[in-house]
Symmetry: C2
Subunit: 136 residues, 2 copies
Amino acid sequence: MAVNASRKPVLDGKECDMSGWDMNNCPVRDVLDRIAGKWSTLLLGALARQPYRFGELRRLVPDISQRMLTQTLRDLQRDGYIEREVFPTKPPSVEYRMTDLGRSLFEPLSKVLLWAEANHPSVKAARVKYDESELA
Amino acid sequence: MAVNASRKPVLDGKECDMSGWDMNNCPVRDVLDRIAGKWSTLLLGALARQPYRFGELRRLVPDISQRMLTQTLRDLQRDGYIEREVFPTKPPSVEYRMTDLGRSLFEPLSKVLLWAEANHPSVKAARVKYDESELA
DNA sequence: AACGTTGGTCTCAAAAAGAGACTAGCACTA
DNA sequence: TAGTGCTAGTCTCTTTTTGAGACCAACGTT
């Protein structure tokens, strides 16, 4: 059974020690399950820049359905990341803007987005390599 | 139509200027759609600590199905975040460990996890507030 | 001989997401 | 004045994704 070789921690604990985390029923999951959706980060990224109206967001993210746009915005609002304000124009217009909590979340989150942008080539290369070794 | 009030940028551009990002067909989406899955961050968090075998991961995350565990690990492997090594024991055992790319991703990602842990109370409070105002 | 262990795959049911029609009230146009 | 478009959604239907659980083969243990 002594098969496994190097089981040293990858992070040194100063960076982020999550050894005490209970994977089941843990606050991190509770929060992350919401912001990990397909559209959440995208909308947070947009609203971090400036407030937008419903239709503006729809045009900004062309391949989102109205259904998912509504639902994702509701979820983000419920968790306190964005605010919704209705202006009594005819027809009524609705503006979404980030809250302080949302901004606070987006600070570390933006670092991940920047990492994704910077390392996209590496990921694409890894995919090609994997796919080549698979068809063998 | 001059309804919308404050449309000033939320971030000052030094933090993270993504105003030039194309929301559609953008590298960030391509990378993020993979790590934004329900189980991805959880598995990355575990493997950031140390290498694990298939069965160990399954026990570590009790409510994941074998099917999704297999699939998520494959996806993470394909994108180059983790490595898979088969040991020719009987029955064969398989170990998963993080790559350098995975560790590089987990650095900013862990900051988001820490944020989630720290701000869980705020999020829960926001949910309660939202739900109360809804049933009115 | 029966059972547990390994890391999966396969099938079927349930949940989630996408596509598109539909709404109301007003403004603008023909 | 009738027709059209705008707003921010909701409702229904179909497709995709996910979850639950059975099954596999070969070996070790009891």
